[in-house]
């Protein structure tokens, strides 16, 4: 597996770009690979696996054929093993923002960090959409976003000398508290209970900082933000029956991720209630050359199951082959017996 991260911005030309590296996107690498189609995968998460890896890595899945039970992470790991022979290129931590057709019929995709892809086919396997940080429903929070409220830390230096309030009780909340404490002017964490769903070592370190007076812990919840012109001055915290204003200029809320359709809505595709209608022969969208597979598509009888997505992948790949190799006909083969397929899989 190759991972091209931030910094590489020369245009990549390829046969197929898969948007979304969940189970269905990963299996697309396999089916496309058997048909000699090389794919690049783009995903907003920092790891492959999509919802399986992000939402329920440890939870069991019981309806994958021939696997009576497997965890979300186990399924992801197995798929990564299965697609290894095709050496897909992953572009993680990136969201496709623009998708346009070029004059020669190919497509141009540009991600949020400016990486451009030129590709013959686009396969949208974006599941429930892009994972985005949850925005606490605090009145007026939008006005502070980007100036005082941040949902991720891209550059720590930005927070030097700040009076930081972190909200949440998971690993992100604690990790950033520990990392930012040395450079912050003051730092506090607000969490609704005194238990933390985080690595025990992080919890111990956080408690040590609080005991040493270098950080504060507020047992409660934020109920309001106060400031002017996007500059936060204090956050109202409700702790039991008591309500008080805590002075801070920076708020980092870490309440996990949620799924939003995101830029897919702007690509000129027909949509039905935030899903992409496709046919059930090719899983083609309203735009020739753009396919949609897995949870993001819809058709009569659609079931949002991983196993349905796998089936969709196989048929879509045949249709993609016709576009990429218009002069070739596909000879249907089984991996069990075909020496040419086995060569591609590296088992022969």
């Amino acid at each position: 597996m190759t991972d091209i991260g931030i910094g590489n911005t020369s245009t990549i030309e390829t046969d197929a770009v898969i948007i979304g590296a969940g189970p269905v996107g990963l299996f697309a690498v396999f089916e496309l690979g058997l048909l000699d189609i090389k794919a690049h995968l783009i995903d907003i998460l920092d790891k492959p696996g999509g919802q399986c890896a992000e939402l329920y890595p440890e939870k069991p899945i019981y309806d994958i054929p021939a696997l009576p039970v497997i965890s979300g992470q186990g399924l992801t790991d197995n798929l990564m093993e299965q697609i290894k022979p095709f050496d897909p290129t992953f572009h993680l931590n990136q969201r496709v923002d623009q998708l346009n057709r070029l004059e020669d019929g190919r497509f141009s995709l540009v991600t949020d960090i400016g990486q451009e892809f030129i590709t013959k086919v686009v396969i949208i396997a974006a599941g429930g959409g892009s994972f985005t940080p949850k925005r606490p429903p605090l009145p007026g929070i939008e006005a502070y976003e980007g100036s005082s409220v941040f949902y991720s830390v891209r550059q720590m230096e930005q927070f030097r000398g700040k009076n930081i309030l972190i909200a949440g009780g998971g690993d992100s909340a604690l990790d950033w508290m520990l990392n930012l404490e040395p450079i912050a002017n003051s730092i506090a964490i607000v969490h609704r209970r005194d238990k933390f769903r985080a690595a025990p070592d992080s919890v111990n370190k956080m408690e040590a900082l609080v005991d040493a007076g270098r950080a504060k812990f507020h047992l409660g919840q934020i109920t309001g933000l106060n400031g002017t012109d996007g500059q936060l001055e204090n956050a109202t915290i409700k702790a039991g029956d008591e309500t008080f204003d805590y002075a801070c200029d920076t708020l980092l809320p870490f309440f996990g991720l949620t799924m939003k359709l995101g830029p897919v809505a702007d690509w000129g595709l027909n949509l039905e209630e935030n899903l992409i209608p496709v046919d059930t022969e090719k899983f083609a969208t309203s735009e020739p050359g753009i396919f949609a597979i897995g949870d993001i598509n819809t058709y009569p009888g659609k079931l949002k199951l991983i196993l349905s997505g796998f089936h969709e992948v196989a048929l879509m790949s045949q249709a993609a082959h016709h576009i990429i190799y218009p002069d070739q006909t596909i000879r249907f083969q089984y991996t069990t017996s075909s020496s040419s397929l086995q060569k591609k899989l590296g088992v022969r």
Binding site: L55, K59, R192, T258
Partner: protein, 106 residues
């Protein structure tokens, strides 16, 4: 069939018929009750089926498990009566259950 009433933030009430064995979340989704999103489909992995159980029903519905408590950390405006509706199993004893949905599942 046990009946469950969902009270929206604005006071609107919807009463649905639930089947014993399903979850309160499933009873809501089946009838498209607004205010319950259940993004993860009931895996106790997203906290978008957050409800406030009516005080009088708190004992009957029981306490959240540790896993549910962990997931409630990702919900907002948590109260002592907060539960994830995907973790409440419908029983005959819960006939008449009343839950309020938060202003926003975020």
């Amino acid at each position: 069939m046990p009946k469950i009433t969902f009270i929206a933030h604005d006071g609107n009430e919807i009463t649905v018929n639930a089947e014993v064995g399903m979850t309160v979340m499933e009873a809501a989704i089946k009838e498209s009750v607004p205010g319950i999103e259940a993004e993860c489909g009931g895996a106790c992995a997203c906290a978008t089926c957050h409800v406030y159980v009516d005080e009088t029903w708190k004992a009957a519905t029981g306490e959240p498990s540790e896993m549910e408590e962990d997931m409630l950390d990702f919900a907002f405006d948590i109260k002592p009566t907060s539960r994830l509706s995907c973790q409440i199993k419908v029983t005959d004893e819960l006939d008449g259950l009343r839950v309020t949905t938060p202003e926003k599942q975020f």
